[in-house]
């Protein structure tokens, strides 16, 4: 595909999706093969504007950190499987963003998975929710209780008390007391 055709298709996609100028500028500033790979991804998965912006941010981070081109990142097996998959375009678009996020934050993903496994293993009763900080950006663990009536509240508080050791372990993991 010639550079002129690519640019015209990018501009047309951006106009249709009302992509802000700054993001269009970043897209056009990429190397030719990266522009093309991104265009093909955006068209094939019918990315929404927000999804495109997020994907571009994540691709940019991954490419810089791993010293790889954006086209190279999009050609990775786990990404290609999504691009060439058979599901609906919106479903695959969502999977793409999720997969890029995993590639961008592999250790964060592993840590969150481990914490969620620990929380699930506690088998807390419904009405108690253990909330992790967004992106583990702090070490604060939030425990929510939703109860109707004094008896239920007392029962849930009792459950928290019985699981204190497990909850404490999760709080310690948030502070780095576990392999990352």
């Amino acid at each position: 595909m010639s550079a002129g055709i690519v640019e015209s298709r990018i501009r047309s996609w951006a106009e249709k999706r009302r992509l802000p100028k700054a993001h269009l500028g970043r897209w056009l500033a990429l190397a030719h093969e990266d522009r093309v790979a991104l265009l093909e991804t955006a068209e094939r998965l019918r990315l929404r504007t927000g999804q495109f912006v997020t994907a571009l941010e994540l691709l940019d981070e991954i490419a810089l950190r791993d010293r790889e081109s954006i086209a190279g990142v999009l050609a990775r097996n786990e990404i290609r499987r999504i691009l060439e998959g058979t599901g609906s375009a919106p479903g695959r678009a969502q999977s793409l963003v999720e997969q890029l996020r995993v590639a961008c934050f592999p250790r964060l993903k592993r840590t969150i998975d481990r914490l969620r496994t620990e929380i699930a293993a506690l088998a807390l009763p419904p009405g108690i929710r253990v909330v992790l900080p967004v992106d583990l950006s702090s070490d604060e663990l939030r425990i929510e209780i939703r109860a109707s009536g004094g008896a239920e509240l007392e029962r849930l508080i009792g459950a928290i008390d019985r699981h204190a050791a497990g909850l404490r372990r999760i709080a310690e993991m948030l502070g780095g007391a576990d392999e990352v």
């Binding site: 810089l64 950190r65 791993d66 010293r67 964060l108 840590t111 502070g175 780095g176 007391a177």
Partner: protein, 365 residues
């Protein structure tokens, strides 16, 4: 190390100052020297250049400071467990160019490399500070908005500062640097009242991100030499970048440091994680598009509006390096920079001292 300048601009009212004369006599002959009516204007970003911040680093402005010289550390906040550090502003900006440097955002509107010709006026402020709280000690540093020693061969300011502090019992001067410009220091007698500190990073970070700085090995060797000359020394592992090999690399750095500088003679080691506002991160990425360290630590946005490595990763790195340091130097004074009291407790197992108490300890260390 010698840093290149394109021009030296001297404010008219400072034409006959000792500092201006020292710079003019020492600057390389090919560097343009000009006199300007107002240094503040000369320090503003150049128009029409691709990288105004970078251009500012090559333009020294010798000028008068119109505001107080002494201020609290700009990083200080009630959100953090702070160290009571005070900043003495005798210069602004730095000829080195670290990709992660907060000055890219903090002084974006006046990036000229300012050096204040009336710095001796700071001594009155310091005298007042020293008298303000008898029994308390203060650590005062010149390395927050500038590198303390980068242009010392031109300015010779360090000698005046060292001599002033040598006569003050409750004030400790901290000269913070990433250079090995210690020539002037070796000719002065600090009498235990000046501490020279180096920011240290593993070689991998130095090569990727710390442009025009001295190598980690040169910094460590310079520390050994000033220690022998009667100075105290301290080290800042800051910013620590939590890239996948960080634990190994920072551990190795500690070993290299302690092999050259006896740990029992080190006054303190501070640790701080890489933190950047999203705006700074965008600026840094624009100026250093090929530096993988700017995206290596899985940074996420925190409540204070800064991006840091996600908490368990960061805390684990701090704790690991704390343990590594304490294995060889159990008594060494360690502290965290720009982290909360709960982070401090997780890393050290105790609550932090108040800024005043920690400040006094560091000043007496």
């Amino acid at each position: 190390m010698k840093f290149e300048l394109d021009a030296v601009l001297i404010e008219e009212r400072c034409r006959s100052s000792a500092l201006a004369m020292s710079v003019v006599s020492a600057v390389a002959p090919e560097v343009e020297v000009r006199y300007v009516p107002d240094g503040r204007e000369a320090a503003r970003p150049l128009v029409g250049v691709r990288d105004p911040f970078g251009a500012g680093k090559r333009r020294m402005v010798v000028m008068e400071r119109r505001a107080p010289f002494l201020m609290g550390c700009p990083a200080g906040s009630s959100e953090f467990a702070c160290c009571g550090y005070l900043v003495l502003l005798i210069a602004s900006n730095c000829p080195m160019d670290c990709s992660y440097c907060f000055l890219q955002e903090y002084i974006a509107d006046n990036p000229g490399l300012q050096v204040y010709a009336n710095y001796a006026a700071a001594f009155d402020e310091l005298d007042r500070l020293g008298r303000s709280a008898p029994g308390r000690s203060f650590r005062v540093g010149t390395g927050e908005l500038a590198d303390s020693l980068a242009f010392d061969t031109l300015t010779g300011i360090s000698r005046d500062l060292v001599e002033y502090f040598a006569r003050r019992e409750n004030l400790l001067l901290e000269l913070k640097t990433k250079t090995d410009e210690i020539g002037n220091l070796l000719t002065a007698d600090p009498r235990g009242r000046t501490l020279v500190s180096w920011t240290l990073s593993p070689t991998r970070v130095y090569e990727s991100s710390e442009h025009r700085t001295a190598s980690p090995a040169s910094r460590i060797e310079a520390a050994r030499r000033v220690l022998e000359a009667g100075y105290k020394v301290g080290f800042h592992l800051d910013p620590m970048i939590a890239y996948p090999e960080a634990d190994h690399d920072y551990g190795e750095l500690i070993d290299n440091l302690f092999d050259v500088v006896p740990p029992q003679r080190i006054s303190f080691v501070s640790m701080g994680g890489l933190r950047m506002t999203p705006a700074l991160r965008a600026l840094a990425r624009r100026r250093f598009p090929d530096d993988p360290m700017l995206a290596a630590g899985e940074e996420v946005l925190g409540r204070d509006g800064r991006m840091r490595s996600f908490t368990p990763l960061r805390m684990r790195l701090f704790a690991s390096i704390r343990a590594r340091i304490q294995r060889r130097a159990p008594e060494i004074l360690l502290y965290l920079c720009m982290e909360s009291a709960s982070a401090y407790e997780r890393v050290f197992g105790t609550m932090p001292a108040t800024p005043a108490a920690l400040g006094t300890r560091l000043a007496g260390s």
